[in-house]
């Protein structure tokens, strides 16, 4: 298998709630243009494309074909990937397979979401209703007060059980979730590509937002965002020729458990906070990347957190700290941009969620930190040699992990 590196990234000029000034394909073209601008490459350098966005959100089933000219894909191999919240990272992984296999040398990964043009609640219902078929067949009522009531607020209701379970096992409190959300909104204020920015966010301010389903408040929840992200991947030989700096994809993995709130492979079958797929995927990805002690060797993380508690919850699932430690590190200030293990310097998904891009942005943000190409004030203060990016989605039970480094993997 060949080594694969990220040689360039392109974002739409902004990530905001409504990009009414352009249509979907036009918006996507902006990120493609940015990637070409940032790398000095052009369409002639790209061998194949992988396209990703969330299924159902804009009700489009073939957006990659609508946008085929806008992404300069005519005459080239292209496929679309949709795995839910993890879509962006799954698309990146597919791009990796293209290059690592030796089939293609330079691949462009394109992701977008234009949530303002769909109906996000219907979109979520569109995911969760047919997919919940699995849940329905496992005893969750779609029509009455119990099942979907519990999922009130799209996935917010469902993750409330997860958050509660996390608080129980970790010893963290709802105030820690407030604190994490405030930290990320402040980080977002430094990132020109973030959506919900609040330089003055405090835990107290977050705590004033109303509860949706205990312990999840509105202030813990991601926005719906319009935006697009592009990453260009290359093999070692092409990377040396085309790029001054490269962030190497040294480890990657994904893992699923079953589709119910109770996850079959997860210990007591039912704890949505256990997230064993994350541990399984993280172990594999670190092993592939040659990372023996993530707590020592990983310099920063971008963790997928549609809801603020998830950043803390997944920290220990990614072996970045002990099981009851994430909120302690938060209290010590170690998760801040200036801290020992900065987490979500970008502001995270809780601040910006153009869903198709969200899991890819976790990777591109790590890549830009490694390449020292962060625009804006959220560059972490220490040198970043290795970073971990995480994606979460599916029906609460699917996880992707990517380990990036400033040097290519030794084989």
């Amino acid at each position: 298998m060949r080594n694969v590196g990220i040689i360039g990234v392109g974002y739409t000029p902004v990530f905001v709630s409504k990009r009414r000034d352009v249509n979907i394909a036009e918006m996507i073209s902006e990120a493609v243009d940015a990637a070409f601008r940032n790398t000095g490459l052009g369409p002639e350098d790209i061998d194949a494309m992988v396209f990703g966005n969330m299924q159902t959100f804009e009700g489009l089933n073939l957006p990659h074909l609508w946008a085929s000219e806008h992404i300069r894909a005519l005459g080239k191999p292209i496929m679309r990937i949709a795995t839910g919240g993890t879509t962006g990272m799954s698309a990146l992984h597919a791009g990796y397979y293209h290059v690592a296999s030796g089939l293609h040398d330079v691949v462009m990964v394109i992701t977008y979401e234009k949530q303002s043009e769909g109906d996000s609640q219907v979109g979520l219902a569109g995911i969760i209703t047919p997919e919940i078929m699995t849940m329905l067949s496992l005893g969750i009522d779609l029509t009455g007060g119990t099942g979907m009531g519990g999922l009130g607020g799209g996935s917010a209701g469902g993750v409330s059980f997860q958050a509660n379970s996390y608080l129980n096992r970790s010893g963290a409190t709802i105030e820690h979730i407030d604190k994490m959300a405030a930290l990320e909104r402040r980080n977002a204020a430094l990132n020109p590509y973030a959506h919900l920015k609040d330089p003055d966010a405090t835990p107290e301010k977050i705590a004033q937002t109303p509860l949706i389903a205990y312990p999840i408040r509105f202030g813990h929840v991601c926005p719906t965002t319009d935006g697009a992200t592009v990453a260009i991947l290359a093999c070692e030989k092409k990377a040396a020729k085309l790029a001054d700096k490269v962030a190497w994809i040294n480890g990657l993995a994904n893992c699923a458990s079953d589709a119910t709130t109770g996850n079959l492979i997860e210990g007591l079958i039912t704890d949505p906070g256990e997230q064993r797929p994350c541990m399984i995927a993280a172990k594999k990805a670190y092993e592939m990347a040659g990372i023996e002690d993530p707590q020592k060797e990983i310099d920063m993380a971008e963790i997928y957190n549609g809801f603020a508690h998830q950043c803390l919850m997944f920290m220990d699932r990614l072996f970045l700290c002990g099981e009851r430690e994430a909120h302690v590190l938060l209290d010590k200030g170690e998760l801040e941009i200036t801290g020992r293990i900065p987490v979500n310097p970008s502001g995270g998904v809780v601040s910006t969620n153009a869903i198709g891009t969200s899991a890819l942005n976790r990777v591109t943000e790590c890549a830009l930190q490694i390449m020292d190409k962060i625009e804006g004030g959220h560059k972490v203060q220490k040198d970043v040699h290795n970073a971990v990016a995480h994606g979460w989605g599916g029906l609460m039970q699917y996880v992707t992990v990517t380990v990036l480094g400033d040097k290519p993997r030794k084989r």
């Binding site: 329905l136 005893g139 119990t146 519990g150 009130g152 209701g157 949706i212 039912t270 704890d271």
Partner: protein
């Protein structure tokens, strides 16, 4: 980026889909047994775990499950949330009339959790591990709603 204007041409596309999913053989048997005030589960021949509601496979063992067992109607509160909003038709959020409790119930001798409404306990008094019992509707229809709620035992 083009300068933002007040109006853009954005035609509304009014789609209203209706789907008809079958719940499947396992859930049908479960729902039908609710009419007799019975909670039915299936047992894995390999690990011995009992699943309620029933499912076709034990994912850990990759075993097809076909041993049906009736299970206890008592158990403990394993997890809970307090809902402050409800979903209306069209998946819109609305404020709930009053906060309501949803629990994941671990029935005695069962290894999975059952999602159910929890009543007769104030949100502030909720505790993981509380003993719970099933309460049935008076008129039974072989429907999810037959099992009305759980309350402290």
């Amino acid at each position: 980026m083009e300068e933002l204007r007040e109006t853009y041409i954005t035609p509304v596309v009014p789609l209203d889909f209706t789907y008809n999913y079958r719940v499947g053989q396992y859930m049908e048997r479960f729902l039908n047994s609710l009419k007799d005030k019975k909670l039915m589960g299936v047992k894995c021949p390999e690990c011995g775990k009992v699943f309620v509601p029933p499912r076709m496979f034990c994912g850990s063992c990759n075993q097809k499950l076909d041993e049906w067992v009736e299970v206890a109607q008592t158990g403990m509160l394993a997890n809970f949330t307090v809902g402050h909003v409800v979903l209306e038709k069209g998946a819109r959020l609305a404020k709930a009339e009053s906060p309501y409790v949803l629990g994941l119930i671990k029935l005695d001798d069962v290894d999975s959790l059952l999602l159910a409404r929890v009543e007769k306990v104030a949100p502030a008094d909720l505790k993981k591990g509380m003993r719970m019992k099933a309460v049935w509707k008076e008129e039974l229809a072989g429907d999810y709603s037959d099992l009305d709620h759980f309350e402290p035992a």
